[in-house]
Symmetry: C2
Subunit: 367 residues, 2 copies
């Protein structure tokens, strides 16, 4: 087992990365202050892993309650959060309770937001059960829900007390979900670690074969990257943290246009990253062979690289303009200036952006 | 005009206290970073004061939008918060926007919570238009909404960038609302300032006559008390901040039992404070003459001191047990050990608590 400390002063916490961590109740217990524990999971994950987590904690005398969410991004709504509050209040949960998220990014985001708001904040623990949530949402404290007019528009910064990233639980992940997680792993290479891009190219076969030691290494390196960025810019007040959104402005537009849950987040981000690379190339910041290398890596990870044909460039632009990176009316994008080096910039020509938005299937073709 | 600085490090902010502050656009402008400003008010306050605030800011080139809430504690729900988010998103409000609360405690709590959650946090300014919100919710950053199972159970800590406490706007306050505000003013005396109790006794006639200089002095002293407590215990992690809840555990039970909005918050707190004093007296911590002095002061401020007869002691206890001060299953109460000295304690006999809950109309009678 490896331990990564996310160093945020009095909000610091460890991420434990390894195999068979769920059974180890002694990993969680030091981080649970009171007796009351609510485990929030969903209808897919609960049948697989809820019992083992519950038993480990019940043995230690904790009073466990469960709240099972429906599975899917389309349920990432405030109504579902309110149902968590109802469970907490019906069971008389106090301010010294702990809420554990057992599931993927949606469960983590919603449970974190519920923890941030219940009685203005109670303790929160994350057990991410997807690759994407292990490498992305388990670090950084971003929590929230969707609004009908925009994804992740409502939320809070809420750091967990501890995170368990257990490779064993990834065995039950579908290939599609697993690939979606690899999109965020690849992202860390693209934005800040050229060497990691090469490592991923060399190890993609082992990752696709789900070799646990290689997976753990990929998760550790990803979390370390994210932790470094988050420590430097916890509340996204600098542009540093915004770099983590490479591909996300394009990707969110795809997710919103298609309806939440139709494209997986990682799939939309993968396509969005290639669109960002394509625009960077049109701006002369990235070479065509570099764009091709990014496309090939994404495809080798089983990811889509072409946006849905039904989204017109105009609709793309409309949806992108509600992005949180808009400042004083101007849409800023995360773009690439060479491999392993992302920048936040409003310094692009709108015409070139329109070319990228109109490129469609060309994005998937060898140039 | 007096200025009180609430010293919370990088979340510090000034409270301006005086007359005719609303017209002074130059007071707010230094605290508004971007162009987009949403003013949230309600159907009662907006017709009175929205235009003067809007005009002052529009003159400075700000892009103003308005969101008008229905008036009343019964509308302090997440559905209403969601309507604010819809206004923000429909108008493409970005992360550098500012949201101004123009209204009483309900408007302030809801607007603050919306500001805390919109895009995980945007700037927030408070213009409290009731005495209660000027002396209570304008300091401390507590924001939130009610849940059908409990008051203020959902929320966030969110500090404003600046607060305008304008005595002039209190002219339009009903006597009942004004008295409710005096309850919280009296509270500061009871919990931490014996001299202030005497000052209030001497100046109650002037306060009831709404003499602005005396009102400003009461607001300044109240805000300074609250600021001192909040600075020492911003997130209520010590018991210090909990002292501000003198009368609130009893009071919340009254508000919940009667239905939100039937009793004003300050009215419920006034009765709750006398109940806390009564229990403190039964414990031998406060003398009968001291309890009588508190009762007389509350009555002179036009406040009720007898809980509704329809709430049985059992129902009181049931409603009080969801209080946020419950720790490890034990209900802790704010009680008094002498005039001007409150304590948080679980060290009371349940039998004496039942006596207080059963005292009813006796609370209002000279002993």
């Amino acid at each position: 087992m490896q331990t990564l400390l996310v160093d945020l002063g009095d909000r610091s916490y460890p991420i434990y990365i390894g195999e068979h961590l769920l059974e180890k109740d002694n990993l969680l217990l030091p981080f649970i202050r009171g007796l009351q524990v609510l485990i929030v999971s969903n209808t897919t994950v609960a049948p697989l892993y809820l019992r083992v987590v519950t038993e480990a904690l019940a043995k230690a005398g904790k009073q466990i309650r469960e709240h099972i969410l429906p599975d899917g991004e389309q349920f990432k709504t405030f109504d579902q959060i309110n149902a968590i509050f109802t469970t907490l209040l019906e069971n008389r949960f106090n301010r010294d309770c702990t809420i554990i998220a057992l599931g993927g990014g949606v469960v983590g985001d919603m449970t974190g937001f519920a923890s941030a708001c219940y009685q203005r904040g109670v303790d929160f623990i994350q057990i991410p059960t997807t690759l994407l949530s292990q490498v992305d949402s388990s670090v950084g404290g971003k929590t929230g829900v969707n609004h009908s007019l925009g994804k992740n528009m409502i939320g809070a910064f809420k750091q967990p007390r501890v995170v368990l990233a257990d490779m064993t639980v990834l065995d039950t992940l579908s290939d599609r979900e697993y690939s979606a997680g690899l999109a965020e792993v690849i992202k860390y290479g693209l934005i800040r670690d050229q060497e990691f891009i090469g490592w991923l190219e060399s190890n993609m076969a082992a990752l696709q074969g789900r070799q646990k030691s290689v997976m753990a290494e990929a998760v550790f390196r990803s979390c370390r990257h994210k932790a470094e960025v988050v420590v430097a810019d916890e509340f996204e007040s600098l542009d540093l943290r915004a770099l983590l959104n490479l591909g996300h402005t394009f990707g969110h537009a795809i997710e919103t246009a298609m309806g939440y849950g139709v494209w997986l987040h990682g799939e939309a981000v993968a396509t969005g990253m290639l669109m960002a690379a394509d625009l960077s190339c049109r701006l002369g910041w990235l070479s065509k062979p570099e764009v091709a290398r990014i496309r090939d890596l994404l495809i080798s990870a089983g990811l889509p690289v072409v946006p849905p044909a039904e989204i017109s460039p105009g609709q793309f632009l409309e949806l992108m303009s509600v992005d949180k990176k808009v400042q004083a009316g101007q849409l800023r994008l995360v773009l690439m200036m060479g491999m392993g080096h992302a920048v936040v910039s409003a310094d692009y020509s709108p015409e070139l952006l329109m070319e990228t938005l109109a490129a469609g299937a060309d994005l998937g073709r060898p140039s």
